[in-house]
Symmetry: C2
Subunit: 320 residues, 2 copies
Amino acid sequence: MAETPGGDKVRDALRAAHLYYLQDLTMEAIASELHTSRSSVSRLLGFARDTGLVEIQVKSPADRVSSIQDRIKERFGITAHVVPVPDSTAEVDRLERVAMSAARILGPFFDSNMTMGIAWGSTLSAVSRHLQEKVTHNSQIVQLNGASNARTTGIGYASEIMSRFGTAFGAYVQQFPVPAFFDDPRTKEVLWRERSIRRVLEIQKHMDIALFGLGSAYADVPSHVYVGGYLDDDDFQALTHSDVVGDVATVFYRADGSSDDIPMNARSSGPSLSLLSKVSRRVCVVSGRSKLPALRGALAAGVMTDLIIDEATAHSLVEG
Amino acid sequence: MAETPGGDKVRDALRAAHLYYLQDLTMEAIASELHTSRSSVSRLLGFARDTGLVEIQVKSPADRVSSIQDRIKERFGITAHVVPVPDSTAEVDRLERVAMSAARILGPFFDSNMTMGIAWGSTLSAVSRHLQEKVTHNSQIVQLNGASNARTTGIGYASEIMSRFGTAFGAYVQQFPVPAFFDDPRTKEVLWRERSIRRVLEIQKHMDIALFGLGSAYADVPSHVYVGGYLDDDDFQALTHSDVVGDVATVFYRADGSSDDIPMNARSSGPSLSLLSKVSRRVCVVSGRSKLPALRGALAAGVMTDLIIDEATAHSLVEG
DNA sequence: AAGCGCAATGCACATATGTGCACGGCGTAG
DNA sequence: CTACGCCGTGCACATATGTGCATTGCGCTT
């Protein structure tokens, strides 16, 4: 067992998965082919699923007319993944379920030789907790915006998210050890010239997927940025003054999607929206009606190509 | 039910599938969300699977060293899909199982706006019987080679295969109503100038996927072509004389993969191997060791990009 | 060589899922 | 208006699957 430490297990799991999912054999039958017990087969299959040897996708046939996804596609030109959640569900559970779905939907998007940039926040945290393993090679996860602030280094929180993604995909994790917001924009400018930082920025520039939630001061569950001590009263005032409706990776924008001339952005560590828009796949996860204003703004800004959203909010989006 | 004749069913099935596969709810839980009984949910999920709303893939992680697939990839430069089948399995069951796997593996390959060319024969027939539904749009299936001969029109057989593919994918079916082999090559030349025929040839030329088995005179289960009255004694002699080891869609080739100067090919209705090689994805399904010589020849000819093959035969392929 | 600990295995039971059958609604033909 | 027949549904049962627990085998330590 030293030389093939589980390699046999993978082999068996793969074979079991093939027999089960591709040939419709029952576990009993597989057990006899594998000369083992049915229980072991059950466990092997479980292993195969957890481990990403089996990938299950739910595809919406493009023909279902006027489904919400299509309406969203028409109106906003993006691909929506609407997560069914009963309306009665509490806000927290709702986020949890959207996050779980997001984690599953994400799987097929990411693969070997890719780089995924991720933001941090309650939403991403939830997603990270539901990731299923999927082995990839030569892939990396890069943090989009800094996480430390005046009170904490924020490292525990953000890096936990990062490392969950890293281990789930077997990807190299590239942290971004800078504050979320600089006190002085000039510090940022200077720091941005450092080679160590430029290396990260360079990686960000070449990412294949960006994954983020939306920040919103008005959310029922106010976003992490707004309650974590990242902003002081002056900052809040400044934001209100600039008509900010939300943020993506600590970069703020207005209802019309514009993000220029918002002073806070000069101090933010996140990627500018224009930079973000160069990424070929930009996945946004949203749960809860209270994020609607932020969502509309983000749509106007065109920051996303894919939207994973709970049913009720999707509904409100196309209704209102 | 008149206006959405099953549209609701699809909707529900989709939702159920989402809840089941993406959110890990139990059928019981889904039943209550859907205000129906657990049984109905079970049925809905079954429907979702049959209907292609759910797609399940088994992926071989690229890292498993020296697996058969990798060895094949190295040696022949193609992607192999090895179907696990116990060695003790009878030849017929083996074909059946390979065919079932092939049908499942094929699903993800084919999609809307694509054209798939298919040959006919025992292998393809078996595959066609195991296809899972998958709705696509603006897609078509085109027959690669004629099927009628001196004795029968061959239409029942080939067109049954064709239509199974057509209905499974909701694709337009383009038959190719010509004999498998012409008595006189000049007839073919003349006919090939007809617009109706040229239309089909044109479609073939633009196909995105080609799917075929291998013909072999020496197979345990001799291929359909060799026993269906398509060839007479003289033909057989001619083939032997030309050192033919097998055929793809009634186009013959030698062990070294060459197919020129084989007189029969001038009379065959199938696409020349060079034409075939222009298709971006060329999937070959093989079951049974007796097809090995034909397989080696086909590999030498480079006609395939993907090979779906049973385990034992794959083994022999890399061993010998 | 005996003892220890870890991981894999199978058993037996608990759950979850699949399906034949009978019932009831609804549209249609008579 | 009634009879007929076709779904769609849920029930109850049959199967199939998941999992805690005790056992076994194996490698390593003492």
